[in-house]
């Protein structure tokens, strides 16, 4: 009988197919008894990176906490598309309060659980980049400073997408948004100092900080599961492409996310108590153009002429990340 | 109703003084109200506090505009305009000063209701800190006879725990003694 030799091209990941792996290595989503915390029927766009990320993250948290989880959600795409009253696609205990207070609301929930002696119940707060890096920043920093027992997950699609694609402090330089149009002397978003919440979280020296991406869902699950089992403040920052806001193909969401990682623009790393404790090496480095070309929000960098200096500037950011986080090793 | 207005500088315990007076009155079964009036400045700025004492519930909430007694915890305030405003013609004036300041004779109250006492010095001696409020309360008791010294001392202990309470107690009693002796002498001389 002819034997088919299996060639695993993408080694070091779990994308070779869950069925071929031992159970303990499989993604949570492959399990028949997965929680489906974020159930079907929500109103997200086709190819939404955030819906994908949230589904994996919350199911991982439910699994790790054995179902003892309460979630506080900031205002944003995820909250809006998941709870079109009178329907809700959440199968878990979930609450939405305001835009800027998810971290504080979660602190309150955690305090209630503690006072009631329910130490098995874990609390997770989640929000987009707007609700985390901008309007939610004060509450987040307060939570970190007190080391409140909350896992905060940020789904970063680099803009205020729910309200129509406006610029946030997480929007990358040169990106076109509704409030940073691609025109004038400095088309798209300005080149500022940036605002890395993972690094700020590390400055707070909280027990656990990690970045993750929908390009590596098993890694996302793993980080969330480990974080859920820890105590004190934990922060996971997930990169989630938004086809609508980024102008990318809905079918390219994971591809675009992977390119962000492989260029070095979105480094995957983790830290404990302020010190880097691990990172995911780039398997095959690519120039930033490969990533930028797939997104209409960067189209002005290529047409009518290639904007060499700006692309170089973006490349420099990628190079800096690679060096800083030692991403080639 | 007996109304007291206390003037001093921030950090001298002006507010505590009014509070202790109110506690002393309460301990005697009376109704009392004490409240402060200060601006946004810090230590050293002029502050006022008020205390009302009555045998029935006190409903009035305005500042004390017609004091029956004035306690002036800092003699450098004597030049302030309006310091003596509203003082009852039969009122009491108690000043923290080891000597009689100039112009005291102009104070519009009966001579025997006027008293200067080196409260800061007494406080330094007994408490080791220049906080004259407890001392002045001891003097107040002897001067006006409106509150028993025992009530004042108990109020002091409620406010200041342990050794500090004991020290302030001693200081207040010392002041009370001094004032009583002075008044008895003055009485004797008058007769």
């Amino acid at each position: 009988m002819p034997v088919t030799e299996l060639k695993f091209y993408q080694t070091g990941t779990f994308t070779i197919g869950n069925r071929l792996l031992g159970e303990e290595d499989r993604a949570g989503q492959s399990a028949a008894n997965r929680a489906n915390s974020l159930n079907c029927g929500h109103r997200a766009c086709q190819g939404c990176g955030e819906a994908l990320g949230a589904r994996y993250a919350i199911d991982a948290a439910i699994r790790a906490s054995k179902g003892q989880l309460v979630v506080a959600n900031a205002t944003g795409c995820l909250e809006v598309f998941s709870t079109p009253y009178p329907e809700s696609s959440w199968q878990i205990a979930w609450m939405h309060s305001l835009f800027g207070n998810a971290a504080a609301v979660a602190t309150g929930i955690a305090a209630a659980m503690k006072v009631k002696g329910r130490n098995d119940v874990r609390v997770l707060a989640q929000g987009g980049d707007g609700g985390t890096t901008d309007i939610g920043f004060a509450c987040l920093s307060g939570m970190f400073e007190r080391n409140d027992d909350v896992l905060y997950v940020c789904y970063d699609n680099e803009g205020y997408m729910n309200t129509g694609v406006q610029r946030s402090s997480a929007t990358p330089p040169a990106a076109r948004t509704a409030t940073t149009p691609a025109m004038g002397v400095e088309p798209g978003n300005r080149f500022g100092q940036g605002k890395s919440i993972p690094l700020i979280a590390m400055a707070h020296q909280i027990p656990f900080v990690a970045t993750a991406s929908v390009a590596n869902l098993r890694d996302l699950e793993d980080k969330i599961e480990r974080a859920t089992l820890m105590r004190g403040s934990r922060y996971v920052h997930v990169h989630v492409p938004c086809p609508l806001g980024w102008g990318s193909e809905p079918s390219d969401t994971i591809k675009v996310a992977r390119l962000a990682v492989e260029t070095g623009l979105f480094p995957l790393f983790e830290a404990e108590f302020g010190a880097l404790s691990g990172h995911t090496a780039i398997r095959r480095r690519v120039p930033v153009e490969d990533y930028l070309r797939l997104q209409k929000r960067f189209a002005h960098l290529f047409r009518p002429v290639v904007d060499v200096p700006r692309i170089a500037h973006i490349q420099a950011i990628a190079d800096h990340n690679i060096e800083r986080f030692d991403l080639l090793n | 109703m007996f109304q007291i207005r206390i003037h001093g500088r921030g950090g001298q315990g002006v507010v505590s003084a009014a509070e202790m007076l109110s506690v002393a009155a309460f301990l005697e079964g009376k109704y009392a109200q004490a409240f402060p009036s200060f601006g946004s400045e810090r230590t050293g700025a002029p502050v006022m506090s008020f205390c009302r004492i009555d045998y029935k519930p006190i409903r009035l909430r305005e500042p004390v505009l017609q004091p029956d007694a004035l306690i002036i915890q800092d003699p450098t305030l004597l030049h302030l305009p309006g310091l003596f405003d509203g003082l009852d013609p039969d009122g009491f004036v108690l000043v923290n000063s080891s000597h009689q300041p100039a112009g005291y004779a102009a104070m519009a109250c009966p001579r025997e209701h006027r008293l200067f006492i080196g409260a800061t010095e007494l406080a330094l001696k007994h408490v080791g800190r220049p906080l004259p409020n407890a001392v002045l309360l001891g003097a107040f008791s002897a001067l006006t006879g409106r509150l028993h010294i025992e009530s004042i001392l108990e109020a002091i202990h409620e406010k200041f725990p342990g050794k500090i309470g004991d020290a302030n107690d001693a200081a207040a009693q010392a002041a009370w003694q001094v004032v009583r002796e002075t008044r008895m002498e003055a009485h004797a001389t008058a007769n």
């Binding site: 709870t83 205990a93 609450m95 305090a111 006072v115 007190r146 | 946004s40 409903r59």
Partner: protein
Amino acid sequence: MLRQIEGSRAVAESVALCRPEVICAYPITPQTHIVEGLGEMVKSGQLKGCDFINVESEFAALSVAIGSSAAGARSYTATASQGLLYMAEAVYNASGLGLPIVMTIGNRAIGAPINIWNDHSDSMSMRDAGWLQLHAETNQEAADLHIQAFKLAEELSLPVMVCMDGFILTHAYERVDVPTQQQVDAFLPPFAPRQVLDPAAPLSIGAMVGPEAFMEVRYLDHQKQSQALELIPELSREFRDAFGRDSGGLLRGYRATDADTLVVAMGSVNGTIQETVDQLRAEGMKIGSVSLCSYRPFPAEALRRALGCASEIVVVEKCVAVGMGGILSMEIRNALSGLPLTVSTVVAGLGGRAITQKALRAVFQRAQFGQLQPLTFLGLNENVVSRELERQRDRRHSGPPAENILRDLRSPVCP
């Protein structure tokens, strides 16, 4: 037990007796002594089963309370003035989500100009937010209202603001009867919410409600306040039976039944008003007063009954709707519409300006003879304001009034 203590302390101890489970606090004058007192009680172990969290802003404070209340914990916070505004979004959120949070407002003026002293502009700014708002006349009532507030809030699933005048009550030492733990336990049962965040029974709270249902939701909010109109007097009666004193309720009359002139006010100024009423009654004037305790819900019918037989109503209020006039007076006028009486507004005590018996007396006497203006600012320094107004007529330069007044004081003729 009878104690001579600071108002803030009385409130802290009363709140502690209510067995709160989560207290989150951000300091702001004049509420600081309340939260400091509670923090101390938690740390010392006097108040057990309670988590005291120091948060980084008032917005965070109420947000934490929202989370803990939604998770079934009895929650409390306190603020004033600027802090209340900073948490405004959360204020509306808490009532919209039906969370029975109790919050003390140490009534303080809102800037600019910055001012730390008492008036009612802060709680007034949130009058439409769907919270219940109760005003305390004395420190005894302030303490008692907190105990009633938790019961009221949890019965209706609605948050309650207990308003007490900053400095005048918060920082005043007076006699307060602080109840025992047994008394409070007998009056206030444990918090048992209908809807709670619990993994054992998952649900989604806080969904986006669209045009198809929003009207109904707000209508029901409005109706709930009407339910409060019944419950508040009922609780006050229950309180009297349990604790032996009158506290709370919708409103209280003082020598009001046969009065021709009736004064209405909220909070501590009622004490001074009652003294003035006694003085004028002794001189033969038929005057009385009504202390309004429940501002929200607004007891229109009860006010109509209490005020309807007088001919002159004087509303003394510590707030003003700049550009419109008296806020409380407008609502009272509304409640009394159709009746043959005059309602005059006396705006008093703004930014902590002392309200004196003398000034009130003059105003009440003018009212008696129908000589009171529709709107009076009590004790206004006419000299200062007329100079500024005159200057504005001559030369229109923009700038804030406070600083403009100083410029004019420096030189009568401005450059």
